[in-house]
Amino acid sequence: MTAPAKPRQRLRPGAALLAALTIAIALITLLGLEPVATLPPELNRTLSALSQLFIQLVAVIGAIALLLGVLNLARFHAAQLRSFPRGLYSLLLLIALLGVLLVRALERGGILRIGDGTTATLSLTILDVAQVAVESALAGLIFFALVHGAVRLMRRRVTLWNALFLAALVIVLLGFSPLSDATLLPVLREWLLSVPVSAGARGLLIGVAIGIVVVGVRVLIGRERTFRE
């Protein structure tokens, strides 16, 4: 188990064509979305129309990819059916998938009508009852996971940064509590959120944006792995 071998440097016609296409499409889309004032207006309009066309094509590809994703999910869980009891969850998932697909198809076909018949009431209700409720319950657990994480951080090793993290968490949580009306905590919480947290968050986001620019340059000059190998 070692680091990957150095990639081959030999230029392949397919990869070169792919890189050329990608660079051209990326530049046209960029110029279409951010027109250059010095270019003729007619050219800017053409580039804008072309970039819109590319974006629409990408949306179509996204829809096809969604179908592939569903097929991949169904394929994986169908393979899991062979094992028990793990396969039980996969069976439930496949039944739910087929059931919702059937309901949606019947609604679209006008066979299943609930309410005024203009909206897909039943499939949306299934989504609200199952997906939204379960996700909300999971979201509720996040609070406990966060507090547990902070405590674990201190148990592992007490450092200044860990202590600061825990103190900030406690202040912000207590600042939101009903008890906070009578104390200084809401003021402290507001200051924490608007000054150090906001500054840190912006710093982190600027760092991410710079990273994205550098990766973008690598894609624009055709040095991404997809085009290299």
Partner: protein, 243 residues
């Protein structure tokens, strides 16, 4: 403005790439430990799971998805020899195709294409807040005996659920997120998390070609430029200069 930034980044990358041999990259502890953690997972007979979160090629996190897919390739090409295969998960269907491709390329690089299956990369339907993905990854870590979980890309607070499962069931975890909430949880959940922008320089540390080293150096240089620019603006504002 965007063209000026791109041009500066391109110039810095090319100049740094030409001087790559003389550049010493700053230490990133997470990358330094990655090889060892992958080795430990392989040697303990467990698999490796890489999750790209809700990074999506069809929205503003497209380049995050590309960088995360690169890290998936690097991890898979190092942990290819384990008893259990490297698996991947994400919630964007287009990125799912890219993840499958990266896994296939990693196995192809090691002449282990027979081990590769398209279902090793899994798509979990979800939106930006990937709670279904978090539930799926948590279950997958246990069901498939994954010993090491690398979370890289866009994660929100749902990262806490995966981290909780990893810690409770003694799975090694290397978390990362480009989201503020996710990054805060990553810091709390792991002794050695990958910090926000470090994701984009992964290749420079794991496969140091001149261009990758140049990119990492350009990223650092741009960050220093941004710091100087912000301090200068603050100083001007303090002096009462209105721009």
């Amino acid at each position: 403005m965007i063209y000026a930034i791109l041009l500066i980044a391109l110039l810095l990358t090319v100049i740094s790439a030409m001087r790559a041999r003389t550049i010493a990259l700053r230490a990133v502890p997470a990358y330094r430990s990655l090889q060892q953690r992958l080795s430990e997972a392989v040697e303990s007979g467990r698999g490796t799971h890489v999750s790209l979160g809700s990074s999506a090629l069809l929205d503003e996190s497209a380049l995050t998805a590309m960088a995360s897919a690169e890290l998936l390739y690097q991890a898979a090409s190092r942990a290819y020899g384990g008893d259990l295969p490297v698996t991947a998960s994400l919630s964007d269907p287009v990125t799912h195709c890219v993840a499958q491709d990266r896994l296939r390329r990693a196995y192809l690089l090691r002449n282990r294409l027979d081990t590769f299956k398209p279902t090793l990369a899994r798509w979990y339907p979800s939106g930006v807040s990937s709670l279904a993905l978090a539930a799926g990854v948590s279950a997958s870590l246990l069901d498939e005996e994954s010993g090491f979980a690398l979370l890289c890309g866009r994660f929100g607070t749902e990262l806490a659920l995966i981290a909780e499962t990893s810690v409770r069931y003694d799975r090694d975890l290397l978390p990362h997120s480009t989201q503020i909430e996710g990054q805060a949880i990553a810091y709390a959940a792991s002794a050695m998390p990958l910090l926000a922008e470090e994701l984009f320089v992964g290749a420079a540390y794991l496969e140091p070609t001149p261009l990758h080293i140049g990119g990492a150096a350009a990223q650092d240089a741009l960050r220093y430029l941004a710091i100087v620019f912000l301090i200068a603006l603050a100083a001007l504002a303090f002096l009462g200069v209105n721009l």
